[in-house]
């Protein structure tokens, strides 16, 4: 082999270990899962003993009301939490984007919820929502109101898990928005003041449009994450009451461990994966489009 071609190979040589790890840790399980989704497979069987049933698991899912409801809960959950979190996170960032003493401490405090392990967050909220000893109902009762069935009523339970998720993940949007805000060109905002823009007009016409690229990526990241949420809800409600908070990842978990239908669980996982892939590709394409646009602008500028 010539020296030149050896040199060309060098980067691939360095990439090879990572590639191997990826192949075993990512592609192998995915292929395994895809294959498993075509089987009627009980956990007591070895994979070789399971019966191949083709697309039957998928057809069964589409006819399964519980699965459809679970999918619905997941979509509703994702839409609701991400919407609320975006409004709160961006709003807080706009509010706190100023130099007040102690602001750095405040900012750090805001980020804390994100750093707590999801299981702990779940337990914490479960205790706070406890019908008799939880802080919410105790407070309500001490003010003379009736307690609220936070986790035992279907619609309240959904609201409760939404509140917990909003509490934990709003800071994520807050810090990304704040970073975006602080990197905006200061003089453009000053120019808008001179042009006569009020505080609101500055936000609507200048700040938000300029933050948009960051906000879109943030939104997609949060959306992807919210489809995968499991532990907090598992600990708080375990999907109940009824199916009111049974999001897809919980359903998958139950199908595999409780109903002992590994094939069906795999089929569900695949469907969830497809949803996530669509979101990820949207983000990927969006980023590509941004890069292409930037490159085109640079080219135009160099031309003149």
């Amino acid at each position: 082999m010539s020296i030149a071609s050896t040199n060309r190979m060098t980067p691939y040589l360095f990439l090879a270990p990572a590639g191997l790890v990826l192949a075993f840790a990512l592609f192998y399980p995915i292929c395994y899962m895809i294959y498993a989704s075509f089987l009627d497979w009980n956990p007591s069987q070895r994979i070789g003993e399971a019966e191949f049933v083709g697309l039957r698991n998928y057809f069964k899912l589409f006819g399964d009301d519980a699965f459809r409801e679970s999918m619905g809960v997941t979509l509703k959950f994702a839409a609701v939490v991400v919407t609320i979190e975006m409004f709160l996170g961006v709003g807080l960032a706009l509010l706190l984007d100023r130099n007040i003493r102690g602001m750095s401490v405040l900012r750090t405090l805001f980020i804390l919820p994100m750093m707590i392990a999801p299981i702990v967050v779940g337990l914490m909220w479960r205790y706070m929502y406890h019908p008799t000893v939880g802080i919410f109902n105790k407070t309500l009762k001490s003010w003379g109101f009736d307690g609220i069935p936070w986790l035992s009523d279907g619609s309240w339970a959904f609201a409760s898990v939404v509140i917990a998720d909003v509490w934990q993940w709003t800071p994520f949007i807050f810090i990304l928005s704040l970073a975006a805000l602080q990197s905006l060109p200061a003089s453009a905002i000053e120019a808008s003041k001179i042009d006569g823009a009020s505080g609101w007009q500055q936000i609507i016409y200048i700040k938000l449009p300029l933050m948009l690229p960051v906000l879109i990526v943030t939104l997609l990241l949060r959306l992807i994450d919210s489809f995968k949420v499991l532990e907090v809800i598992l600990v708080m409600t375990n999907g109940g009451p009824g199916l009111s908070t049974e999001i897809l990842s919980l359903r998958i978990n139950r199908t595999a461990s409780e109903f002992r239908e590994l094939g069906e669980a795999a089929a569900m996982s695949n469907l969830l994966l497809i949803v996530l892939l669509i979101l990820t590709f949207t983000m990927f394409i969006y980023n590509k489009a941004q890069d292409a646009r930037a490159a085109r602008l640079r080219a135009v500028e160099e031309e003149v």
Binding site: P185, S187, E190, A191, I194, D195, A197, I206, E301
Partner: protein, 357 residues
């Protein structure tokens, strides 16, 4: 268009005092240039007038209205920023019409106005482009256009030409001068470039360390600088400074230094009596030297040929001096030439206070 008055203006950043007590009157329709080295407070002053910086003390009067506590939009002004400050997500037309749209002017009026201004600035072909798709000079013109479409009473410029290359800067300077002739409005222009100040300003305000060193017409500043700082700041090439002593010989007062003596006109004798036999600083503009017989013999150390003029670097009284002469025939380094200096063209400064004598 009202006149603008700054009264006892003060600005502190925390414990740091940037401007202590600034007083300045700008007449109606006047083009005022604030000029000075960086850190002299000129931009801060402009930003206080704009309302982008709070005023620590004193007042800014526009006409008989105290605007020092008002929001920028209530002050009736337009501003051009150093980095242009265009809105990156809006095209040229939207950038220029932003203020008018906020003011809820009707659409067809906005369109005519924008087109009119775009035509005068040569921007008609670019109205649909975003700022990132424009060259530096074009962006500069959009920034100018954005200020011009508004019929504001006062225009503020914060070093608008400093991001352009030398050639473009010259062009834009001329365009600006034409524009200010056409629309007689209050203009306040901040720059660190004394050439811009001299060519554009009706009035120049030279600042240093938050204080006004001198305010006056370009000619006043050039002909009779109030102090050594202004003398050194205004004029290019820079004024030469030499140390000398005021002596009286045979009834004539002259500035005598190491190897030279320049007789001063009798008219200045009375005012200089108090400084007789004392050390002074002597300022001579490079253009005040005239080549001729019977003058000071000076060696040519370096000759910079610029075209019609040459700048010679020479030595006088142990100091480097620059001499500007018309190039008749190129002068070579190493020659010795004779130069005379007219006594009424030299400037004298007190060595302690640096004030002009």
């Amino acid at each position: 268009m009202p006149d603008i008055r700054l009264q006892n203006l003060r600005k502190d950043y925390g414990a740091v005092n940037v401007i202590e007590n600034l007083n300045l009157d700008m007449a109606d329709g006047e083009f005022t240039v604030l000029v000075g080295p960086s850190g002299c407070g000129k931009s801060t002053t402009l930003r206080m007038i704009a309302g982008l910086e709070t005023v620590t003390g004193g007042q800014i009067m526009i006409g008989d209205r105290d605007v020092s506590k008002l929001e920028p939009k209530e002050r009736d002004l337009a501003m051009v920023f150093q980095d242009y400050a265009l809105y990156p997500h809006m095209n040229v037309a939207k950038n220029m019409s932003f203020a008018l749209r906020l003011a809820r002017m009707n659409k067809s009026d906005i369109e005519t106005r924008v087109k009119e201004v775009a035509a005068t600035l040569d921007l008609t072909a670019y109205l649909d482009r975003k700022p990132a798709e424009l060259s530096g000079g074009q962006r500069q013109r959009v920034a100018m256009g954005r200020a011009l479409v508004r019929d504001a009473g006062t225009f503020l410029f914060d070093e608008p030409l400093s991001n352009l290359d030398a050639k473009l800067r010259g062009q834009m300077r001329a365009e600006l001068a034409l524009m200010s002739q056409r629309i007689k409005k209050n203009m306040i222009y901040v720059t660190h470039d004394q050439v811009e100040a001299m060519t554009l300003g009706d009035k120049i305000v030279v600042m240093k360390f938050g204080e006004i060193m001198q305010a006056g017409t370009p000619e006043e500043l050039y002909r009779s600088p109030a102090n050594k700082f202004v003398a050194g700041f205004i004029g290019s090439p820079t004024m030469n400074f030499l140390t000398a002593e005021l002596v009286e010989e045979g009834g004539t007062l002259s500035a005598k230094g190491q190897g030279f003596a320049i007789p001063l006109p009798d008219a200045r004798k009375a005012s200089l009596q108090a400084h007789k036999d004392r050390q002074i600083h002597l300022g001579i503009r490079p253009s005040s030297f005239a080549e001729g017989p019977g003058g000071l013999k000076m060696p040519v150390i370096l000759s910079e040929y610029i075209g019609a003029q040459s700048v010679l670097i020479s030595e006088l009284g142990g100091e480097r001096v620059a001499i500007e002469v018309n190039t008749v025939a190129p002068i070579r380094a190493g020659e010795t030439r004779e130069f005379t200096v007219q006594g009424d063209e030299v400037h004298l400064f007190d060595p302690k206070t640096e004030a002009a004598l």
